[in-house]
């Protein structure tokens, strides 16, 4: 008896988990697909970073119900998104519109890729040109050679002094 009672809550939980989406009735598989897509794309305006499919805030539940209603009426993807945007603003769709204030979202990655590409291109070109290398290296090498010579001179000067100590 006690074991049965213990199992009851677990059983209830299982029933609930299985029941959530089966309750929604759609006329066609396309409508069901559209409903899934829309609830994944629409953003809950109350919660931070959750779509309306993911949230059980009252406003998210209301938006899901409205989405279902509009989809059943046969409205298209864009019509439903516009309906929500008219009420909850551009914030409500995870795909931002292309306008002056959002242009950087597209421009910045493009600029970054172009700048990096240009830099890499210039570097590889510089390392491939033998003339560039030749003109740079002798200077550097003669510098190093002079320094080495100075060190050798110093060391040998010391070595010459040491035996006298």
């Amino acid at each position: 008896m006690r074991l049965k009672l213990l199992c009851l809550p677990a059983l209830l939980l299982m029933l609930q988990a299985g029941a959530t989406e089966d309750l929604l009735q759609f006329e066609s598989a396309e409508q069901q697909q559209l409903y899934r897509q829309l609830t994944a794309e629409l953003r809950c305006p109350k919660c931070q970073n959750q779509n309306i499919a993911d949230s059980n805030a009252v406003v998210a539940v209301d938006m899901r119900n409205k989405t279902l209603e509009l989809v059943r009426q046969g409205q298209s993807h864009d019509e439903v998104i516009d309906y929500m945007k008219q009420r909850y603003g551009d914030f409500v769709h995870y795909q931002p519109p292309f306008q002056l204030s959002t242009v950087w979202l597209w421009l910045l990655p493009l600029l970054a890729v172009l700048t990096l590409g240009f830099t890499v291109f210039r570097r590889s070109k510089a390392s491939l040109t033998p003339a560039g290398d030749d003109s740079a290296e002798p200077e550097d090498l003669s510098d190093v050679a002079a320094q080495l010579q100075a060190m050798i001179d110093e060391a040998s000067a010391k070595a010459r002094h040491k035996p006298e100590e």
């Binding site: 305006p45 109350k46 209301d62 945007k85 009420r87 909850y88 603003g89 551009d90």
Partner: protein, 194 residues
């Protein structure tokens, strides 16, 4: 030229840091409203005091009005009642839009407007009554059309029934001056017009 290029990553890093830093001080709830400068959506909803009477957009026109979305279930709304009552005493016209939370029929819950009226009366007698009237939005239809995300939220509506400001969160002595400025501008502006 080479030296200038050397500083590019540092400058880019600092710019990014400043941008992210400014994000720390921004309000994540503040994402604008789609309804500013739009007329109040058409509605026809019962008055809490006389459920048989339906309130429409026409009832809100004529005077600058604060439309305050609230509910007994919302602690911040209840905390706000005192200050809103002070505002009413100063002559501000406040209309309540009662946010009814969904009732779960599978638990045997039902919505009873008469019970709600009694509960609201008790609460307002205790905390102060800022409302000229209360509109009951059982299905949250007007609330949905207004783009309300929760409670409390307040809309500033001009004489012609056009939405001028959407405030998310409570109204308190700290943020009221900013809304008051708009409110007074609207009152003066509208009185100049014929």
């Amino acid at each position: 030229m080479r030296k200038a290029l050397f500083y590019v990553p540092l400058v880019a890093f600092l710019a990014l840091s400043l941008f992210l830093l400014s994000g720390l001080f921004s309000d994540p709830r503040d994402h604008g409203s789609a309804l500013i400068k739009k007329p109040l959506p058409a509605f026809s909803l019962p008055d809490l005091q006389q459920p048989a009477r339906l309130v429409t957009t026409a009832d809100l026109k004529g005077e600058v009005t604060l439309l305050n979305v609230w509910g007994l279930w919302c602690p911040t709304c209840n905390a706000e009642l005192g200050f809103l009552t002070e505002l009413r005493q100063q002559g501000v016209r406040i209309v309540g839009l009662y946010y009814v939370q969904p009732v779960d029929a599978s638990f045997g819950d039902t919505f009873d407007i008469n019970q709600l009226r009694l509960d609201v009366q008790d609460k307002l007698a205790e905390q102060g009554d800022p409302y000229l009237m209360n509109i009951v939005d059982e299905k949250r239809s007007l609330i949905f059309d207004l783009g309300v995300t929760g409670a409390p939220e307040t809309f500033l509506i001009d004489r012609n029934g056009v939405i001028r400001h959407h405030h998310v969160g409570d109204i308190n002595p700290q943020n009221w001056p900013k809304i008051q400025q708009l409110y007074q501008q609207l009152q003066q502006g509208a009185s100049d017009a014929p």
